[in-house]
C-alpha cells in the first residue's frame, strides 16, 4: 500500500448512467420534500421514468466503451453497459407497475404508513383509506442505481457499497404491501436479517481476500491467483464467503430460503423488481468477480459451482411443484432459472458470458410481465394468488389467461419464445465448456419445471371456474404497457433473436 493517497482520476462521462439514476433518485427525494402532495405522484413518475430513459440513452451512447475509471474501481465495459441498459428498461417497467392505481380499490399496491402495527385499529382503518404515499419512487430509484453500480464494480469494497445501496431500499420496499400487512412485514424482516447475514459474509470474504492478495481490486486478486504466491487458505475461505453473499442475492441453493417468503409477502410490483432486476444485477456482479477476479483460479470454484447449479436446478424445480400460491411458485421457478443461469456462468467462456447476458435480458422481461399479470387477478381481499382461484380463468378472461400461459411457456422454454432461445444459448455454452452432465441435468429439470407451468395452464384453461372466483381487473395504461413490453420482448426474442444475440455477443468482453 502506498502511503500517500493518490488523487483519483475522475472521468464522469463513462458513469453517466449511474449519475443520472442517482440524480433522479435525489430529485425524487426533493419532490417528496417540497412538491405539493397532489402533484407528487405525477412528478415522481415523470422524474423516475425520464431518469431511467436518460440512463438507457446514455448506455447506448457509451456502447463500445472499455474503460476502467475512478482508480480502476469502476469498470465500464460491455457487460456493464448491457446490464445497465437492461436494468434501465426493466426499471421503467417496474416503475410503471408501481404507478398502477386502478387495480386496488384503495389505490396502489403500496401502503401509506408501513410502520402501523398489523392487526391494530389503525391498520384496519388504513386498509380502507385511500391515502397514498410516494416515497417508494426514490426508494426504487436508489435501489436501481445500486443495481446498476453492482455489476460495474471492479473493486470488492465498492461492490459491497453497491450491494448495500441496492439492498437497503429493497428491504424497506418488501414491507410496503397494502394488503396482508403481516406477511409483508415478515417478508421485510426476513429479507433484512438474511440479507444482513449475507452482506456480512461478503464483507468478511473481502477482508480475507485482502489478506490473500494485498488489495481489494479484482485485478490485484487476479494477479495474486496467477502468481500463486499468497496463502491459499485465505483464498479459499475468502472466495467462498464472497460467493455466499453473491449467491444469496441471485437466490441459488442453499441460499434460496428467503425467496418464496419475500416474493410472496412483498407488494407484487416490488416482487417483479426484485425477481427481474436484482437477479440481473447480482449475476452481473457474480460474473465479473468470477471471470475477472478468479478466472485463473477456476479449479478452486468451478467444481463447487457445478454442485450449486445442480442443487439449484433440482431444488427449485422440485419445490415449485408443491406450491399452491402463484407468487411462491414463481419464486421457486426463479430459483430454478438461477440454476440454468449458473450453467452459463460455469462455462467460463465468452459464449458463456454472452449466453448468460442474453438469458438475463430474456428472463427479466418475461418475469416482470408474469408478475404484472399476477397483479390483475383479484378478489375482495386483494390479489388472489392461490392457484385454486385461478381455475377457469381462460373462460373468464381469455386474453389475460392466454398472455400468462404464453409467459409460462416461455419460462418453461418452449420454442418460439425467448425462454427457449436463452436456454439454448446457455446450454450450448455449457456443452462447449465441457459441462455436458450439467446440461443433461438442466434439460431434465426443464421437463420438471414444465410440469408446474403446464399445471397452471391446465387450471386456467381446462378446469371449471370456482363459484366465487376472483375477477380480472382491467389495468390502466401503466400495467398494460409493462405487460405488453414484456410480452413483445418474449415473442421477438423467441422468433428473431439475432440482433440481441449480436449485442450480447459484442458486449461479452470484460475490461480488466
Amino acid at each position: 500500500m502506498p502511503t500517500d493517497i493518490p488523487s483519483p482520476d475522475l472521468a464522469y462521462a463513462p458513469i453517466a448512467p449511474l449519475l443520472i439514476v442517482f440524480a433522479a433518485a435525489l430529485v425524487g427525494v426533493l419532490v417528496e420534500a417540497f412538491a405539493p402532495r397532489g402533484s407528487r405522484r405525477a412528478l415522481q413518475i415523470v422524474v423516475s421514468v425520464a431518469g431511467l430513459l436518460a440512463a438507457l440513452v446514455s448506455t447506448v451512447l457509451l456502447a463500445g466503451t472499455q474503460q476502467l475509471v475512478f482508480n480502476e474501481a469502476i469498470a465500464v465495459d460491455g457487460p456493464t453497459l448491457f446490464l445497465q441498459g437492461t436494468l434501465a428498461v426493466l426499471g421503467v417497467a417496474s416503475v410503471l407497475l408501481l404507478s398502477e392505481r386502478s387495480l386496488d380499490s384503495s389505490g396502489g399496491a403500496v401502503v401509506a404508513r408501513a410502520a402501523v402495527l398489523p392487526g391494530s385499529r389503525e391498520d384496519a382503518a388504513l386498509a380502507e383509506a385511500t391515502e397514498v404515499q410516494t416515497e417508494i419512487y426514490p426508494l426504487a430509484m436508489f435501489s436501481l442505481g445500486g443495481m446498476m453500480l453492482f455489476p460495474a464494480c471492479n473493486n470488492l469494497l465498492l461492490m459491497f457499497v453497491a450491494l448495500e445501496v441496492l439492498s437497503l431500499p429493497l428491504y424497506l420496499m418488501a414491507g410496503l404491501a397494502r394488503r396482508r400487512r403481516l406477511l409483508s412485514q415478515e417478508a421485510a424482516v426476513k429479507y433484512f436479517l438474511l440479507g444482513a447475514f449475507a452482506s456480512a459474509f461478503f464483507l468478511y470474504g473481502v477482508a480475507l481476500l485482502y489478506g490473500y492478495a494485498g488489495g481489494v481490486e479484482l485485478r490485484e486478486i487476479a494477479d495474486a491467483t496467477a502468481s500463486a504466491a499468497g496463502n491459499e487458505g485465505l483464498l479459499f475461505l475468502g472466495l467462498a464467503m464472497l460467493v455466499v453473499g453473491l449467491l444469496f442475492k441471485v437466490g441459488a441453493v442453499p441460499f434460496q430460503a428467503w425467496t418464496p417468503d419475500v416474493y410472496q409477502g412483498s407488494p407484487t410490483p416490488v416482487t417483479a423488481l426484485m425477481a427481474a432486476c436484482t437477479k440481473i444485477s447480482a449475476f452481473g456482479a457474480l460474473l465479473r468477480v468470477l471471470y475477472v477476479g478468479f478466472g485463473r483460479a477456476e479449479w478452486d470454484w468451478r467444481p463447487m459451482f457445478w454442485a450449486v447449479a445442480v442443487l439449484t436446478m433440482v431444488v427449485g424445480g422440485v419445490l415449485a411443484i408443491t406450491q399452491t400460491d402463484v407468487k411462491r411458485m414463481l419464486a421457486y421457478s426463479s430459483v430454478a432459472h438461477t440454476g440454468f443461469l449458473l450453467v452459463g456462468v460455469d462455462a467460463l467462456s465468452r459464449q458463456g458470458l454472452s449466453a448468460t447476458l442474453f438469458y438475463l435480458l430474456a428472463y427479466g422481461f418475461t418475469t416482470i410481465a408474469a408478475f404484472a399479470v399476477v397483479t390483475l387477478v383479484r378478489d375482495s381481499s386483494g390479489e388472489a394468488t392461490h392457484l385454486a382461484s385461478w381455475a377457469g380463468l381462460g373462460r373468464k378472461s381469455p386474453v389475460v389467461a392466454a398472455t400468462f400461459a404464453f409467459l409460462l411457456f416461455a419460462l418453461a422454454g418452449i420454442p418460439l419464445t425467448s425462454g427457449f432461445m436463452a436456454k439454448f444459448a446457455v446450454f450450448t455454452a455449457g456443452v462447449e465448456g465441457g459441462a455436458t452432465a450439467l446440461v443433461v441435468v438442466g434439460v431434465v429439470m426443464s421437463a420438471v419445471t414444465a410440469f408446474f407451468y403446464a399445471r397452471v395452464v391446465v387450471l386456467m384453461f381446462f378446469s371449471e371456474a370456482p363459484a366465487a372466483g376472483p375477477t380480472v381487473a382491467v389495468p390502466s395504461v401503466f400495467t398494460a404497457v409493462a405487460i405488453g413490453a414484456g410480452l413483445a420482448v418474449t415473442v421477438v426474442l423467441g422468433v428473431v433473436p439475432q440482433a440481441v444475440l449480436d449485442v450480447a455477443d459484442r458486449a461479452s468482453r470484460f475490461v480488466s
Binding site: 411457456f409 418452449i414 414444465a450 439475432q498
Partner: protein, 561 residues
Amino acid sequence: MTDLPWLTILGLVPLVGALVVAALPSGRDALAKTVALAVSLVVLALTIVMCAAFEPGGDRFQFVQAYDWIPAFGVQYAVGADGVALVLIALTAVLVPVVVLASWYDADPSADPLRRVAGTAASATAGASGSASSRRVGGGTAVLDPPQPAFAEPVDSLPPRRSVKTFFALLLLLETMMIGVFAATDVFLFYVFFEAMLIPMYFLIGSYGGPRRSYAAMKFLLYSLFGGLLMLAAVIGLYVVSADAGEGTFAFERLVGLEMSTGVEIALFSGFFIAFAIKAPLFPFHTWLPDAGAESPVGGAVLLVGVLDKVGTFGFLRYCLPLFPEASRILGPYVIALCVIGILYGALLAMGQKDLKRLVSYTSVAHFGFIGMGVFAFTTQGQTGAVLYMVNHGLSTGALFLVVGFLIVRGRSRSIPDYSGVANVAPVLAGTFLVAGLSSLALPGLSTFVSEFLVLVGTYPRYPVAAVLAAIGVILAALYVLLMYQRTMQGPLRLPALLGDRMPDLRGREVLAVAPLLALMVVLGIYPKPLTDVINPAVEATMQDIGQSDPAPTAADGAED
C-alpha cells in the same frame, strides 16, 4: 414452377388462416368453420400442385430454400422436401380438411343435429325440432348440456360448449407446425417445430377432449417434452461436435457424415432416439398414447396418431440413421426387439380393450412397431415399406378413428359392450367401419397390405426371427379388428339406452369426410406406384448415408449383426 417457395407458402397459408379464424368475432361459428375448411382445402390444392411439380428422379431435396435465421447459432431457416417428407406433407394436407369436416360440431356439441336427435329420441319423438330451436336461442354462452337422461353416466354426457373458432384455429396452427416439421432441413428448425407442435395439440386435447382430458393432455405434454428436451441436449451436442470439426451448423446435409467417436455417437443417437420413440410411440414409451388417443377429440386423435406420431418414425429415418449410422448399426437389433414387442404387446392389449378409442390407440402401438422395424431393418424394401406404412397408417387409422368417433357421437359411449348389431340400423356406418378395419389389419387389395408386406419382406433377410414374430402380429391384428367389428356391428341390436332402437346412419358431411380416405386406401392398395416412385430415391439416399446395401434376397443366413 419449382422456383416458388412452395413449402414456405404451404406453412404460411394455414398460419394466416389460423390467425384469421382466431380474429373472427366469437358469434360467427359457422363462418369460422367455413374459413377453416376453405383454408385447409387451399392447402390441399397447393400440395397437389406441389406434388405434381416434384421430380421423382431429380435432386434428393427439392423446393429447397435456405436463409440465415440466427447466425449466432449457425441456424438457418432451411426447408426442402425429399420423397419421404413430401408424402407425409401430402398426408397432412389430406387429413386436415377431413378432420375439419369430421369435427364440425366437436367444439360445440349442442349444435350438432345428430347429438340432439340422439338426446331426444329416448324421451320424446315429436319434439325434436322444437327442442332444437329452443336450444339455439341460447346461442353464444348459456348453451351447455342438454337435459341428460338419468342413466347416462358422466362419462357419456355431452361435453360442454367450447370456443369453436379457437378449435379450428388450433387445427390450422397445428397444420403449419406439421408441415414445418416435415419440411425442415435444419435440425434446429426441426426441433423448434417438433416442440412447438405440442402446444396446439395440448390445447386441443385439454380443452376439447373427453372426461379425463386434463390428465391426458398433461401426460401427453410431459412425455413429449421430456423426450424433446433430451433431444435438445443431443441437438446441442451435435452442434458442438460440428463446431469442433470446423463450423457449427445445423444444416442436415452438412451434418451427415460428421466424424465423431462411437461413444459420442451412441449418446447423441440415444437423445434423438428416445424423443422419437416417445413420439412414435415405441414400446415401452407408449403409455401416454392410449390416454391421449382416448381423451382427445376425434379430430385431434386422427391428427395425433395419423401425423404427429409419424414425426417420430420420420425422425428415425431422417435423423437417427443418417446422422448416427454407427450407433444405429450397433443399437439397431435392440430397436428391432422393442418393435417386435410393441407389435405383439400392442395387439394383445388392443384385444383386451373395452374402450373403442383406446383400442384404436393400441392398434397404433402395434403398427408403429411395424414401421420402426421397417426403418431399422436397413433394407430398401423395409424402409420403403415403412414410409408407405406411415402414409397408409395415417389413412386407415384416421378413418377408423373417424368412424369410431361417428359412432360415439351417436351413442355417447366409448364402451364396446354398449353396442351390438349396429349394422342393422346404420349399414353405411358399419360398412365404412369394416373397410377401415380391414385396412387396419392389412387386407390384400387395400393399401396397408402393400406396406406391411414390404416391411416383412424387407426385414426377413436381416432379422428372420423378428419377421416371423411380427407376422404373428398380422394374425392378432385380424383378431382385434374383427372381434371389435363383430361385437359392435353384428349380432342382435343393442344400443346405448338414449338411442332407443334407432340410430341415425352416416350423414352427408360424415360420408364426405371419410370417403376420400377409403378411396385413397383402395387406390393406393391397387396402384401404390406413384408413392413408391417418390419414396424409393429418398430411401436409397438414406441407405447411402448409412453405408448400407441390401442383402442378397436369398439370404436365409443374412442375419448378420
